[in-house]
Amino acid sequence: MIEIINLSVRVAGKEILKKLNLSIGAGEIHAIMGPNGAGKSTLARTLAGHPSCEIISGEIWFKKQNLLDMTPEARAHLGLFMSFQYPLEISGLSNQLFLQTALNAIRKGKQLEPLSDIEFNTLLETKMHMMGIREEFKERSINEGFSGGEKKKNEILQMALFNPDFTILDETDSGLDIDSMRIVAQGVNAMKRTDNALLIITHYQRLLDYIRPDFIHVLNDGAIVRSGGFELAKELESTGYQTCNS
């Protein structure tokens, strides 16, 4: 479903990703772990099309299209979703209006009719209930005054609404207490289908106890240095990333 081939990326003049290769099939959950500064978030941001990520070389194929030729919004329309490590607070726009506008923009990109207010509200209420998000969060400005955990829940709420084919969770577990993590994980797991894929970026094994990946990759100094099954997470937890450098 996703093919990353020899991807090299520069940020602010510094090469962060170095000929990275990764293949993710439909129905698979992959996790990328690695020390600080390894390039994990740069990979996530490159996939989503952040303008600060300057492509030196490589290709990213998703649904037979090269993502690198596409704007961030075109990628979203194609079915890619990145949950932000630090979701932004945007004042002056109600969360509900934002979610409806975004969902309808994505539907338009997929050549689907926009949802009516009633249809959208029904969908939103179901998903908010699932994520344990209180009613009042509809009217608030996007992420404004939300706690760290509420912002992350709001990201997963967006994932639940947009129903993407490929999701990147960038450090979604950071700043989450154990109860919130369970709710977030339940939300993510409920979205799992045999024809979509998930890439989890994380420092710690914690989240992986709730969303069990099929494959784990260790990213270090801009390239994947080791790949394995779920057992690799356990090993990393006890030995750290040092052993992966060789």
Binding site: P51, P72, L88, I90, A105, F162
Partner: protein, 385 residues
Amino acid sequence: MQLLEEYFEKLLDIKDSLLSWRKQAWDRFQKIGLPSNFKDLCIPQIAECPKTTEDASAELHFVDGYFQKTSLSHPIICLSLHDAMRNYGIFLQNRWVRTLKEETDPLAALNGAFQGKGAFLYIPPHCHVKNPIEILHHLNSSHAASPRLHIYMNKNSSLTLLQHTVGASNSFCNAFIDITLDEGSELHFQETQNLESSSRYFQNFRATLKKDSKLNALFFSQGAQFVYNSTKVQLLETNSETELRGLANLTHSFQHHTHVVVDHVAPGCRSHQHFKNVLKDKSQSNFEGKILVRSAAQKTDSYQLNNNLLLSDEAWAHSKPNLKIFADDVKASHGSTTAPLNAEEIFYLRSRGLTQMEAEKWLIHGFVHELMDKAHPSVQKRLEV
């Protein structure tokens, strides 16, 4: 200056009941003089009283600075200044003297000399005016209009005033508004303009607040060649409060100047200022704000903020927030920000499927909404057009 002198001499009319006030205002103007940034102002000749009257739905209607008529009736008093001087002079003379003695803005003084036919609005004690009163200014000519309005809010009265100015091309307006808020009174003032890009618009807004009174003013502007808004509010007695806000949406090579002085004279008063500018093209904004806390004004609570959103590399925002504090037990703070749209916020919205243009539109909306939301519904309608 010589040209202005000629204009002034032409105006002098022995039958004019305001003649002595005009002369004193002219003297004051000459004392203040025109600052260097006004030297090239090229004030056009003074607008004459329009020969025909126009119908307007507004309660107070001015054409080219001349008060036309009012539909207001008892218990509200609305008269021309000429008529008001005879019966309500007690409320006016005091203000005139103050203007002539203390005024430092040359255009405020010049309005006193060049004023067309001014108006006086009086709200009697305990009168709560339910529906907003509209003031409509039509600037039909390219001559200098000098509308003048004195408002006296008597004890425990309340009122909402909505002022709208419609300017023809090359119009020039130098307006003056003076407001006295007596004990426990409350005034909400909101302003909008529909000017041509060649228009020049100046306004001096003066208010003094007595005990427990409240002034809430909101100035909206879509800009014009030159817009200048000078606001001075004096909190004269304890527990008075003012909220001053402004939003200018600027394009072309428009220049927009906002000068605000809040003078805390008495203890235990509150003031809040928030002025925002959205700047496109080659527009320029200039914000100069001052909070003055006099030595007697203990327990003052005051705040001033100026935010500028730059949507073009060629736009300029100048910001000079300023605090002058002579009391030691006060809360006073100020802030100023000038920035383009946040690139991370744009990316966030685009990653959620919105186009670059949609994302920008949303963020601009986000910037202006907190002031737009405070607009009276009929003002909001005007702003949408």
